[in-house]
């Protein structure tokens, strides 16, 4: 994996970060001792909900203002041991709850291609930093699409592995049965190198599993069956649809077969996700209460300390989700909400599992449209519906990657490729094929630049 080099990365950070607000904390790169290893010389940015010992960790929240991580997350440690240096901690939607990175207590992250537009979230800082050359790759976290959606908005690759392949030890939990650390980069080819180092069973994470082998074998399209979900066809805007059609043509021209699939439960996906994710989050975020290691808002008694601290130091979106999660777990509601959602989750898993009898991969949009303007941000509930295409991979635990496929209105357009559980290596190989033969970051950069020059010429 090639690095941009520390000098250039440092320059990019200096030049761009005050505008983009991707990094909340930068470490002095000259401090990182050069280690030899397969990732030696590379520089990574780390989402600010992943612990790096000695560095601050805010999770985008006032609730962890001043917190210094007492230990390093397993995945980060493995990468550091292989030679990757940590450039700093990346901005994010508070406690990973959001699809815009406008819910951070430390300011919005701006989209590098258009500063009036959002970067996407919750790993907004990660996506922006990668797109703007402020690191070689970044770690994010993906619970309902938080790596893939900002990757699509920022024109980079965003990969969420099979659940359990990357250890969650050291990742601040949002929804434990859905969370995975994800990788963002400017090249799909780099991700395999990263996964080889970082993946695999961790004795400190009981949900981690043995990693599949990330082999170097190349992929071909000939004879591959690419599934497309017919219920999604109508959800693409015309300018997105055009790029999608180009991709379908490319697939067919290279010997791939398009297979139509049906996903009748698609309209349950967001509800199931919201119920399960907020339920688990309401429990995972209970520890932040002003008592042990967070800042404290004082009160006359214990209850007041809890109420004051949590209402003052959590932002409105976090409070909204904790309230919802508490509600769906309450005794009266458990059966009709949480238990039911868990059952429908199984149906969704079964549907997707069945797809891979008929197809080798499933192709979907990552988002319905390009990154929206900050001034035109949808309301909270509409924003939840944004996650429709990315959520299934979290509910099923299957691997998925968003890749840049074109440009529309001078903004990146990304699509998503999904595979069956433990087919992470094959998925990355196919993404590499698309990168090498159809479209990639370099082409995206040039196309957007060209578009800018053209519109400038027209002025």
């Amino acid at each position: 994996m090639k690095s941009l080099g520390r000098e250039l990365i440092n320059k990019n950070i200096t030049d761009k970060n005050s505008l983009l607000n991707a990094y909340l904390y930068t470490s002095s790169l000259s401090d990182n001792p050069d280690k030899s290893g397969s990732l030696s010389g590379t520089v990574m940015g780390v989402k600010d909900n992943i612990n790096i010992a000695g560095m601050p960790m805010t999770c985008g929240s006032k609730m962890l203002e001043g917190y210094i991580s007492p230990y390093t997350a397993t995945v980060a440690q493995r990468l550091m041991d292989a030679g990757a240096a940590v450039a700093g901690k990346l901005n994010m939607d508070e406690f990973a709850m959001g699809s815009s990175n406008t819910y951070s207590a430390y300011g919005d992250v701006k989209n590098p291609w258009d500063n009036n537009r959002v970067s996407g979230g919750s790993s907004g800082g990660s996506a922006a930093a990668v797109a703007a050359g402020m690191c070689d790759f970044a770690l994010g976290s993906d619970t309902g699409g938080s790596v893939r959606q900002p990757a699509a908005y920022c024109g980079v690759y965003g990969f969420k592995p099979t659940y359990g392949v990357l250890s969650r030890y050291g990742l601040t939990a949002f929804a434990s049965s859905l969370d995975q650390i994800g990788v963002l980069s400017r090249s799909a080819g780099d991700i395999k190198d990263i996964m080889r180092v970082a993946s695999g069973r961790d004795s400190q994470d009981s949900t981690s599993i043995d990693a599949p082998e990330f082999s170097a074998t190349e992929m071909t399209l000939a004879g591959k069956r690419i599934g497309v979900i017919k219920e999604y066809a109508g959800s693409m805007k015309p300018h997105i649809r055009k790029i999608y059609d180009d991709l379908i043509l490319f697939i067919k021209n290279n010997g791939g077969e398009i297979v139509e699939l049906s996903f009748p439960e698609y309209d349950k996906v967001v509800s199931v996700y919201q119920i399960i994710a907020t339920a688990e989050a309401s429990s995972n975020l209970a520890r932040f209460d002003g008592v042990r290691y967070t800042p404290r808002s004082e009160g006359a008694d214990l209850m007041e300390v809890y109420l004051n601290t949590r209402s003052q130091l959590f932002g409105p979106e976090v409070r909204r989700r904790i309230a919802l999660g508490t509600f769906v777990l309450s005794r009266k509601c458990y059966d009709s909400y949480y238990l039911k959602a868990a059952k429908v989750r199984t149906l969704i898993y079964n549907a997707w599992h069945a797809y891979f009898d008929k197809a080798d991969f499933v192709l979907t949009p990552t988002t319905a449209d390009i990154a929206f303007k900050r001034a035109e941000q949808p309301d909270a509930i509409s924003l939840y519906l944004e996650d429709l295409f990315t959520i299934p991979a979290n509910l099923t635990g299957m691997p998925a990657i968003s890749f840049p496929a074109g440009v529309s209105n001078a903004m990146p357009v990304g699509f998503q490729l999904c595979a069956d559980r433990l087919k992470d290596s094959e998925l990355l190989s196919m993404a590499s094929l698309i990168e090498n033969k159809f479209y990639n970051f370099s082409m995206l950069e040039k196309e957007i630049e060209k578009g800018r020059r053209n519109s400038n010429d027209n002025l």
């Binding site: 949900t207 520890r287 042990r292």
Partner: protein, 482 residues
């Protein structure tokens, strides 16, 4: 006037003695400086995850088997969500939906003197909380205890009195601490904690009425007193037209009464759900079989065996059953001298335990076979009782065997080599005045003659033997007079 009966159930928390905590590698050592046995996991730092301690499951399954439970090969870990400063995560990892063991029982002797089975509804695994120390307006928190492994033993409401509850608690203690060694058994350190659920109902009814919880009564005697007080309180209340409230009460040791701690409005909603960081727990038949095969002989079986095999009486049996190491000592000694088993048991309870702490008997200087040899020598009349006692003390001090001591020390010359007849005759001759008085009717002087004879033998004569020979001699003398 309605007669009421009491309905009592106990929830006992047992701290399992493992080297490390339930879900992390921190030491479980008691008394270490506050907040030194902690890590990101047991202090609930962001990003930390639990990993199950395998010794914990083994000991949980071992105990559950000892109380006759069905072991669930598949069980769940679940989160019990509530806020409290000594809860690092503000949820406790426990087993709610499906515990590791269910449907067991423990036999006690009921208040009517008859054996009765007390049902055990479930045994489940969970983690302990940290400790709060209230100091005026401040509360100090120590997380050394947070994450320690606990099993909770929930009985069915089958007990009917404070005495029965106390016996049940004692037996659980005995099995966990003395027989299985899965708990250190130190009540001051909180190794076992007991909460009682108490309600009453008209005699003969099978309905269950509102219960009050009596919390943290951590001694066998207090449990009995607190429950009996609570029963009386409820009967008085209900007889007077009142109603028992669902509440938590604490036992006030000084005033000897239970007092309201907090009222329970409805039931607490803990929003239980499966712990996603651990997934379901699955153990195999083989795993369970292996653990069951390591069960020691349990108290009830041991009691029966000791009674039938050795005919020991109640007091001795109780001691042996309550102190399995003493029982083991006895059985080992009896192996070396089966015919003298009863005598050996008397020597253990009467003599050995005066010199030797029964809690440390497994490291006693006097080994079981050494005691057996001593008793054998006594039974064979090689030694007198007085000699044997003296030798025992020397054995305890110096660790030598009885035969070695007797060989080396002239004080312990062979008792059977002494001519007791001669000694008796000499004693009577030397005490002719007293002899005259005896023959005239003062028969109480017999004891005096025995004492003198034993003295004359320098303690080597067996007083019983002396007495026998003296009687013969005195009878002859009496006859000769007539």
């Amino acid at each position: 006037m309605t007669t009421y009966e009491a309905v009592i159930g106990l929830e006992i928390h047992i701290q399992i003695d493992t080297k490390s905590k339930a879900f992390c590698r921190c030491s479980t050592n008691y008394g270490d400086r506050q907040n030194t046995n902690i890590c990101p996991v047991c202090t609930g730092q962001p990003g930390a995850l639990p990993v199950l301690n395998s010794e914990f499951i083994k000991k949980a399954v071992l105990f559950s088997s000892a109380v006759n439970c069905n072991i669930n090969l598949d069980s769940t870990f679940d989160r019990k969500n509530y806020f409290y400063p000594d809860m690092p995560k503000n949820y406790q990892i426990t087993q709610f939906f499906k515990p590791v063991a269910e449907e067991g029982y423990l036999e006690i002797t009921g208040s009517d003197g008859q054996p009765r089975k007390i049902g055990i509804e479930r045994v489940h695994m969970e983690e302990d909380t940290g400790k709060s120390l209230h100091m005026g307006s401040r509360t100090l928190l120590n997380f050394n205890r947070a994450g320690l492994p606990l099993i909770e033993v929930v009985s069915r409401p089958d007990m009917k009195s404070g005495a029965e509850a106390s016996e049940y608690f004692k037996k659980i203690y005995l099995i966990a601490v003395k027989y299985l060694g899965i708990c250190k058994g130190n009540m001051e350190e909180g190794n076992l904690r007991c909460d009682a659920n108490v309600s009453i109902r008209p005699l003969g009814s099978t309905e269950l009425f509102t219960k009050a919880e009596v919390k943290n009564v951590n001694s066998f005697s207090f449990i009995q007193k607190a429950i009996d007080y609570e029963i009386e309180r409820q009967i008085t209340l209900v007889s007077g037209g009142g109603e028992v409230e669902a509440e938590t009460r604490l036992w006030n040791v000084k005033l000897k009464q239970t007092e309201t701690m907090r009222k329970k409005y409805g039931r607490n909603d803990y929003r239980y759900f499966n712990e996603p960081d651990l997934g379901p727990l699955r153990i195999t038949e083989d795993f369970v079989k292996k653990i069951k095969s390591s069960l020691p002989e349990l108290p009830d079986i041991r009691l029966k065996k000791l009674k039938e095999k050795y005919g020991l009486h109640a007091e001795t049996l109780e001691l042996f059953v309550n102190y399995p190491y003493v029982a083991a000592y006895f059985e080992e000694a009896a192996k070396h001298y089966p015919a003298g088993a009863q005598k050996i048991s008397a020597w253990i309870t009467g003599e050995l335990l005066r010199l030797q702490d029964k809690e440390q008997i497994d490291t006693a200087v006097i080994k079981p076979q050494m005691l057996a040899e001593l008793v054998m020598m006594l039974e064979n009349k090689r030694l007198t009782p007085v000699q044997a006692k003296d030798i025992l003390e020397i054995m305890h001090k110096e660790g030598k065997t009885a035969s070695a001591i007797a060989e080396a020390d002239p004080r312990f010359g062979k008792a059977d080599e002494i001519n007791i007849e001669d000694i008796v005759k000499q004693t009577l001759n030397e005490n002719s005045e007293q002899l005259k008085k005896y023959l005239e009717g003062k028969e109480s002087l017999a004891g005096f003659f025995v004492g003198q004879a034993v003295k004359k033998s320098k303690g080597m004569a067996d007083p019983a033997l002396v007495n026998e020979i003296l009687k013969k001699e005195l009878t002859n003398l009496k006859k000769n007079r007539e």
